[in-house]
Symmetry: C3
C-alpha cells in the first residue's frame, strides 16, 4: 500500500500558482539604516544605546551601529569614547590600541587620541607631533544614563536632548536599575547579542498585540499569563512620542483589563508585564540597528535593590518562554517545535519583502507605525525635526505602558 | 646537490603561455535555471522530483529547486504540499509552521493554508477571516509516483503528463521499487544530498561513455566490471525522448556486447548495470537543479521485494567504487588519490567554462546533447512544446537502457 | 554611585565629528594585482616565488598568485610545472590529476600534459589523439633558485632575468640556504601561510623604521634588541633597485650604528638582523600577492650547514617576538594584549583606505615607495621596462642591507 493521495489536477485549479509571480521587493526607505539613506538619516537624529555601561572598559571593543564600524572604550579617567576604528595616521585598527588615563594609543606608531578624537601624542614625530592638533580621529559623542552608553551619530548642530523617562527617575531606595543587552525578549538568550534580521521586523512586533494569542499562547505553549490567550479588543492612538495600543480583555474571572503598550519613536518599546501584574511597566527596550540585516536589543528595568538579575534573569526568562532549553542549545527541529519571537521575526528573512504581505484588520498598528515613520523620514528630508526630538528640555517623559484593571461595572471601549 | 632541473627558457617556447588570455565564459543559456532564464523556463515545462516520498512528513522541510526556495510537507490526510515559504500574511517562514489534517499553520498569527495554498483560517481576524478567500499562498502542484514526490513549476496551462516508465510498471510480486536521494551514483555517499556544481555537468556525463575507461578503470581502480576497460566503438542515435548511445565491445572472453544508455530529456539517466549484468537496466535517475551552482540526484530502482536497500546499498556502493571510505570521510589528499565522478565533475568548478573546452571525436554525445537541448530551449521560447512533453497520454514510455550480448558471429556495427 | 563622567556636550565641540564624512577610498592603481590592472601588469614584469622547492612534488597543489588560480607540480623527472587548473579538454581540475615522468594526466578522460602544457596523450581519442598537438594547456614558465620555485606570469617577449643576489652566491662550505613560506616575519607562525590583507601594507612596512620603536619596543614588549627602542635619525636614498633607508642611532653604550634596509622593487625586503648583529643581512624576503586581499611571504636565509632551521626556527621566532604563544593559538583578547606586525598591518583592513591617512614626517619612506611604484606602473603602461628588470645580465646584484657600526668619533649624518 502506498500512503499517497493524488492532488487534484493543476489544470482544473490553476489559481494561486507560484509560477510567473512578479519580482518581490522590500521598502528600502523604511529598512535601510546606513549613512545617507532616508531611514538612516532619520534614525541619526536620535541618541541610541550602543553598550551596557558596565561592559565598557579600557579594553577596546568593536561595535557596529547603523551600518558603521566603531571602537568603544573607557579611558582611565572613566570617560567613554566612540571613535572610528582606522587610526588617522596609517589606518591600523584602534581595536589593538592601549588605553590609559588620557585616551587610546595605536599599536603601530603610537599616535594617541582622547575620547573626542583629539590627537594628543605622536611619539615618533619631531617634538611628539608639531602639527598633531591638525589631526582629529573621527568620533561620535556619547553619554551614559540608566546603565547604558548612548551615542549620537547625527549632524552635530541637530544634537537633541538625551531623554529622561519617568519610570527610571526618582527611584525609591529599595529599587535599582538593571541594564542588559541579552536577546531574551526576542526569544533568544543571554549568549546571543546580535540578531540576524532587520530591526524594523522586531520593532513592528511592538504594535502587534494579536500574535500573543497565537505565538505565545496556543502555538508553542502558554509562554505568558494564560489570560493572554483571550482575544482582546484593540484600539490605537497617537501619543506625544509615537503610537500606543490598548488591548481590552474580559478575563474569565470577571475582571476587565486594559493593557496599554507604546511604540515610542524611533525604536523604543515598553511591554507591560506579561504575567499581568497590575500597574505601570517597569521596563523599556531599545531596538538598535546594527546594519540593514542585523540589530540588537538593549533593556533597562527596575529591579529590587538587593537582587542580581544577571544571575536570576536567565532562569526567569526560560520559565517565561516555557521552552526546555536556551535558544542557542536548540536544534532546528526543536525550534520548529517551540517557535518564539526569534523564529517569527527571523523567519521573515534578513529583510522582509513588503510587496508580498497581506495586512488584515488586526495589522492596524503595523500600518500606523509605518505611516508615522515614513512621515518622520520626510520631515527630516525637509530639514525639520522628527517626533520626540527636543532641545533643552530635560524633564522626564511619560512612558505610559502598563496593565490597568477596571471595576467590573465599567463601560467597555468599542 | 640541488635536485632541480632548469626548464627550457620561456623566450624560446612562448607558445601556449597563460598570459593575456581572453575572458573565460560559460554558456548561460544552457546552465541558468532560475525563473525567466531560457534554460529555467525550458526545465519548468517538465515534472521534477523534489523529495523521496517516505521523507515527506508533517514536519515542514525546506527544499530549493530551480533556484526557488520552497516548503514541502504532508498534511494529516496524506497529501503533499509545496508552498512558498513566506506566509502570505506577514512573511514568516512556514518552516516554523505546524501541520494538521487540513494544512499548515503559520506560527506568528496562525493563518492556515491547505496544500494548494488556500487560506482556510485567520484566527485573529473577525470571524476567523471574512476575506480569507482573497488570500492565496503561492503553491506548486505535486504528484507522487515510484516513491518520489514530483513537482511541476511551469505555467499551469502547459501542465504535461507525469510520465510512466516501462521498467517500473506491472512489477512482479518478488520485485519492489526503491527510491533514494543519496549521491552514491555521482561518487558521493548517503550523507551528502546537495552537489555543489551545475546540474548539466552531471547530466552530460550520461552521454560520455569514454570517461569510464579512464576514471572508472585505469585511473583510480577498477570501479566497474573489469571488461569496462576495453575501449568501445560508440554510436549515437536520436530517440523519441532524447539521445542514446550504443557502446560496442569485443570482450576478452569472445563475447560481443552492445551497451545502450539513454539521456532522456530534460534530465533523466538510466545507466545499464556497471557489472555488465545482461538485459534491461532496472534503474532511472533524475539530475535535478537546486540552483545555478548546485544540484541533486534522485534514483528509483527495482529491488527484491524482501530486501532493504537503505541498509545494503551503502556497502554495495563502496564496493562498486572500489574506494576505502565514504566520500565525506576522505581527506582532500585521499580524493586526489581515488577520484571518482564527484571529483571529475565538481572539478570543473561551480559552472564549467565552455569557452575553454576542446571537444574531441569522443565528445560527440556531449555536443549532440547540447544541440538538442538548445533546440528545446528555442522551441519553448517560440511557444511550442519541448521533446517528451505529452498531454493526456499516460501509457508507459520505453527507457531502452541495458547490456545486450550478441552471438559471436554477428555483424559488428561500424 | 555611578562611575560615569559626562563628556563635554557635542554642541560646543563639533570638530572632528564622524557624521557626514565623505566616501573612503583606496588607491586601486597601487593595490590591485589581477590581470589587466595597472599594478597587476607591472608586477607581472618580474619573477615571483610561488612555492618552496622541497614542497613541490608529484602531488599536484593549488596555488593562487596575482589573482590567478594555478596548479603546481613536479614531474617524475624533477621538472616543476605551473598550469591552469582547468583541463583543456572538458575543464576538470588537474588538482585531481596524476603525475608521471612525462607530465600530469587528468582524471576524467586521461589527457596528459607536460610541464609546458603540451598535450602528449589523449587515450580515448583515435590513435591517442591525432590532433593533440593543436591543444595546449595554458602554462607559465618556472625556474628554481635558492630553494624557491619562481614563476614569470607576464608577456613572454618581456621575460626578464631571474636575478641572482650577492649574499646567496658563492657560499662557503659551512653555510647553506634555507627557504621557508612561514609567516613568522609578519607576526604569524609556521602554521599560517596566507595573510588576509593586501600585499602592499606588508611591503610598505619595509620602509617604516619608526614603527619599531613603538610596536616592537614599547608597546607589546621588547621584541627586538633593546637598543632598537632608541629613536633613530633616518635618511632615505634611491638605489639601483629601489629605495634604502639608513637609521642612525647613538647607542647607550656609546657606539654609533647605521642600520641600512632596502625595499628592492617590486616586492623584496632584506631586514638587517633585529638583534643588531654587525654586518650584512643574511636574509631576503618576498611579499607575494595572492590576490587583492591576500598575500604570502617567502624567505631565504643563510644558515649553518649543519643546522635544521625547520626545527629550530619556530622556537627562535617566538623568542624574538617575545610573545607567549603562536599567533594561531592566541585569542583575540591576547592579540590585543601583544600585537605585532600581523595586527598592525591586518588591522588596516583587507585593503587600507589611503584617503583616510595622515602621513607625517616619519612616513617619508612610505611616500617615496608609493611614488616610485607609481612611476614604474606608468613606465609599463608606456611600453617601457620597470626598475630592476634586466635581460641577459646574470651577474649577482647587491642587496646592501645590514647593521654597520661606526667608530665613536665619526661624523654623524644629518
Amino acid at each position: 500500500m502506498e500512503p499517497y493521495m493524488k492532488v487534484a489536477n493543476i489544470k482544473s485549479h490553476p489559481e494561486g500558482n507560484a509560477y510567473g509571480r512578479p519580482t518581490q521587493t522590500y521598502d528600502s526607505e523604511l529598512v535601510f539604516v546606513g549613512p545617507g539613506t532616508p531611514g538612516g538619516e532619520y534614525l541619526r537624529r536620535y541618541w541610541h544605546p550602543v553598550a551596557v555601561s558596565k561592559n565598557v572598559t579600557t579594553r577596546p571593543q568593536e561595535v557596529r551601529i547603523l551600518g558603521e564600524d566603531l571602537i568603544l572604550f573607557r579611558d582611565g579617567r572613566g570617560r567613554p569614547g566612540l571613535l572610528l576604528p582606522r587610526c588617522a595616521h596609517r589606518g591600523t585598527s584602534l581595536f589593538y590600541g592601549k588605553v590609559d588615563d588620557e585616551g587610546i594609543r595605536c599599536c603601530y606608531h603610537g599616535w594617541q587620541f582622547d575620547v573626542q578624537g583629539r590627537c594628543i601624542d605622536q611619539p615618533c614625530e619631531p617634538e611628539r607631533g608639531l602639527h598633531r592638533d591638525k589631526v582629529r580621529q573621527p568620533w561620535y559623542p556619547v553619554e551614559e544614563r540608566y546603565g547604558l552608553v548612548f551615542a549620537y551619530m547625527g549632524p552635530p548642530d541637530k544634537t537633541p536632548d538625551l531623554p529622561r523617562w519617568d519610570i527610571f527617575e526618582d527611584l525609591p531606595a529599595e529599587v535599582k536599575l538593571f541594564a542588559t543587552d541579552s536577546s531574551f525578549s526576542v526569544g533568544g538568550d543571554d549568549s546571543v547579542k546580535i540578531l540576524p534580521w532587520n530591526w524594523l521586523q522586531d520593532w513592528e512586533n511592538t504594535l502587534d498585540p494579536f500574535h500573543v494569542q497565537v505565538l505565545h499562547s496556543t502555538f508553542t505553549a502558554t509562554q505568558f499569563a494564560k489570560e493572554m490567550a483571550v482575544m482582546p479588543k484593540v484600539s490605537y492612538e497617537m501619543t506625544e512620542h509615537g503610537i500606543r495600543y490598548t488591548a481590552y480583555r474580559q478575563l474569565p474571572d470577571g475582571r476587565e483589563l486594559d493593557r496599554r503598550s507604546p511604540a515610542i519613536f524611533p525604536n523604543i518599546i515598553s511591554t507591560p508585564d506579561v504575567h499581568l501584574q497590575a500597574g505601570l511597566s517597569t521596563t523599556m527596550g531599545w531596538v538598535v540597528p546594527v546594519d540593514d540585516t542585523h540589530h540588537r536589543r538593549f533593556h533597562v528595568m527596575r529591579v529590587p535593590a538587593d537582587s542580581d538579575p544577571s544571575v536570576t534573569r536567565p532562569r526567569q526568562m526560560y520559565t517565561e518562554q516555557n521552552r526546555p532549553k536556551r535558544w542557542i542549545d536548540m536544534t532546528e527541529e526543536e525550534r520548529q517545535q517551540w517557535p518564539s519571537d526569534w523564529e517569527a521575526q527571523c523567519g521573515q528573512g534578513p529583510i522582509t519583502l513588503h510587496s508580498e504581505e497581506h495586512l488584515g484588520t488586526t495589522d492596524q498598528g503595523i500600518a500606523m507605525l509605518r505611516r508615522l515613520m515614513r512621515k518622520q523620514i520626510r520631515l527630516v528630508q525637509e530639514g525639520k525635526d522628527p517626533i520626540g526630538v527636543s532641545f533643552g528640555d530635560e524633564s522626564p517623559r511619560v512612558v505610559g505602558s502598563g496593565n490597568f484593571f477596571r471595576a467590573a461595572e465599567s463601560e467597555v471601549e468599542k
